[in-house]
C-alpha cells in the first residue's frame, strides 16, 4: 500500500487555487480542519466557491468567529452552498450587501448531492423541498403517483476534511459527531487533503473500523489547531 505524503498546513492551503470549488467538512465547526482553515485564511486565496454544511459562527457584536467563518470574514468566497448560515451574521451581511452569492440547500439533500458526486450517480430523487422555493428551476420527476425533485451531484476541486486518526495509507477514522460531512466530501473532490489528530503506521487501524478508505486521500496534514 503506497504511503500518502504528510504535508504542512500551508502546503495544503497552496493546493487551493483562485476560483476553485472547495468542500470543507464540519458541522458548526465541529469536525472542521481548523489547522488548514487557518493556513488558507492566512494565504487569502479568493474567488472560491464553498460547499459546507454551514458557515460556522460569526457574532458581529462579540467578534467570535469559528470554522469556515474565518474564510467568510476575509471574503474569500464569491459563492457559498450551505444548509444553514443562521449563526454567521457576516454571511448574512454579505448576502444583504450583494457581496456573496449564497445558495441554501436542505441538509439531507446537501449530503446526498455530495455523496452522489462521489459515487457517480447522475442525481437523486427526493421529496424534500417539493412545493417550496427549493423546487425552483429543478426537474420534478413523477414515479407512480408521487412527485420528487431531481437533485444533482456536487463535486469540488479540493476537499479539506478532518479525521481523528489516519494511517499513512490515508485510511481515516472520525470521532463522534465530528464525522458529519467529512466522509462524503472525501469521495467527491479531485484533490482531498485530510487533517488528522493522529497519524499512525499502516496496519494500526482495524480494517473493519475504517470510515474512509485511503484511496480517496491525496495528502495528510498533522492537526495542530483543534478548535477555532
Amino acid at each position: 500500500m503506497l504511503q500518502k505524503p504528510v504535508i504542512s498546513a500551508s502546503e495544503a492551503a497552496a493546493k487551493v487555487r483562485e476560483g476553485d470549488a472547495l468542500m470543507v467538512g464540519g458541522f458548526m465547526a465541529c469536525g472542521s480542519p481548523h489547522t488548514i482553515i487557518q493556513a488558507l485564511t492566512e494565504k487569502g486565496t479568493r474567488n472560491l466557491t464553498l460547499i459546507c454544511n454551514d458557515t460556522g459562527v460569526h457574532d458581529l457584536k462579540s467578534g467570535r468567529v469559528t470554522g469556515v467563518g474565518h474564510l467568510v470574514q476575509k471574503r474569500q468566497f464569491r459563492k457559498i452552498i450551505a444548509s444553514h448560515i443562521g449563526l454567521n451574521q457576516e454571511t448574512q451581511r454579505q448576502i444583504n450587501a450583494g457581496e456573496t452569492d449564497v445558495t441554501l440547500v436542505p441538509q439531507g439533500t446537501l449530503a446526498e448531492r455530495v455523496r452522489a458526486g462521489g459515487v457517480g450517480l447522475g442525481g437523486i430523487l427526493t421529496p424534500t423541498g417539493l412545493g417550496t422555493e427549493v423546487e425552483e428551476g429543478k426537474q420534478v420527476i413523477t414515479v407512480g403517483d408521487r412527485l420528487f425533485l431531481l437533485e444533482l451531484p456536487l463535486k469540488a476541486d479540493v476537499a479539506l476534511i478532518k479525521a481523528k486518526k489516519a494511517d499513512r495509507a490515508g485510511n481515516l477514522v472520525y470521532a463522534d459527531t465530528a464525522r458529519n460531512f467529512n466522509p462524503l466530501m472525501a469521495m467527491a473532490a479531485s484533490l482531498v487533503v485530510a487533517e488528522a489528530e493522529e497519524i499512525v503506521e499502516v496496519g494500526e487501524i482495524d480494517p473493519n473500523a475504517i470510515h474512509t478508505p485511503g484511496i480517496f486521500i491525496d495528502a495528510l496534514v498533522q492537526a495542530e489547531r483543534l478548535e477555532g
Binding site: 455523496r115 412545493g131 472520525y174 470521532a175
Partner: protein, 220 residues
C-alpha cells in the same frame, strides 16, 4: 382573561406524547425543552441530525468533548446504546421514515399542515438546515410554538405567508393555548390549557378551528 406566554406548558404536553423506544428529533430552541419533561419511565432514543442516535444531556462543566455536539454546536453526551454516523446516514434515517417524531419551532403553521420556519424574506435568511428533511421524512411532525407572535397575531394561519419549509407535513401543533391536530384542512382543538377556554382560543386565532365534542383541558 389575560394571555401569558408559557413555553414550559408546550414542552410538558409534548413530552407526554411519546412511547418508550420512540425515535425523536428535538429541534433547537423551544423543542429542546421537551427533553426536560419526558417521564422517567419513557426512554426515548433522541436523534441529532449532525450524526448521532442516543443524544444525552449536556456534560458537566469541564467534561465537554469538542467532537461531540448537538445540531446547534453545543456540547452534549451520548446515552448508552447510542451511535454515530455521517450526514448521509443521518438524513437517510430521517428521510427514510425511521424517525417517529420530530418536534420543531415555527414562524407560521397553517390549517393545511404547511409550516414556515426558515426565512423572512429581506430580513432573516438563516437557512433550512435539516428542517425540510425532518418535516418531510418524520412519521409525525409536531410544531411547537407560542400561540401568538410578539405583534399579537396568531401563528396558526389559514395560509402561511412566509416561504414554506414543507407542504402538508404537520400533524400536531402544540401551543401554550392547546394541542391542535391538523385534519382535512382544519385545526381540531383536542386539548386546551386552562384557564383558557376553547371559545376564547377560537376567537383569537386566525385559522379555522374545529372544537370536537371530546375537546378537553390538558391534565398533567
Amino acid at each position: 382573561m389575560e394571555y401569558v406566554a408559557n413555553k414550559d406548558n408546550i414542552a410538558r404536553r409534548i413530552a407526554r406524547i411519546f412511547k418508550p423506544g420512540n425515535v425523536v428529533n428535538l429541534g433547537i430552541g423551544l423543542p429542546t425543552l421537551v427533553g426536560n419533561y419526558v417521564p422517567e419511565d419513557v426512554t426515548l432514543i433522541l436523534q441529532s441530525e449532525n450524526g448521532m442516535l442516543g443524544l444525552g444531556p449536556a456534560p458537566a462543566k469541564g467534561e465537554e468533548n469538542r467532537d461531540l455536539t448537538n445540531a446547534g454546536g453545543a456540547p452534549v453526551t451520548i446515552a448508552p446504546g447510542g451511535c454515530y454516523f455521517d450526514s448521509a446516514m443521518s438524513f437517510g434515517i430521517i428521510r427514510g421514515g425511521h424517525v417517529d417524531y420530530t418536534v420543531l419551532g415555527v414562524l407560521e403553521v397553517d390549517q393545511e399542515g404547511n409550516l414556515a420556519n426558515y426565512k423572512i424574506p429581506g430580513k432573516m435568511v438563516p437557512g433550512m438546515g435539516g428542517a425540510m428533511d425532518l418535516t418531510t421524512g418524520s412519521r409525525v411532525v409536531i410544531a411547537a410554538t407560542l400561540h401568538f407572535e410578539p405583534s399579537g397575531a396568531s401563528r396558526l394561519k389559514r395560509r402561511c405567508t412566509l416561504p414554506l419549509t414543507a407542504v402538508r407535513e404537520v400533524n400536531l401543533v402544540v401551543t401554550d393555548l392547546g394541542l391542535f391536530e391538523v385534519m382535512g384542512n382544519r385545526f381540531f382543538l383536542r386539548e386546551y390549557f386552562e384557564p383558557y377556554t376553547p371559545e376564547w382560543i377560537k376567537a383569537r386565532t386566525d385559522a379555522e378551528i374545529i372544537i370536537p365534542n371530546d375537546c378537553r383541558p390538558v391534565v398533567f
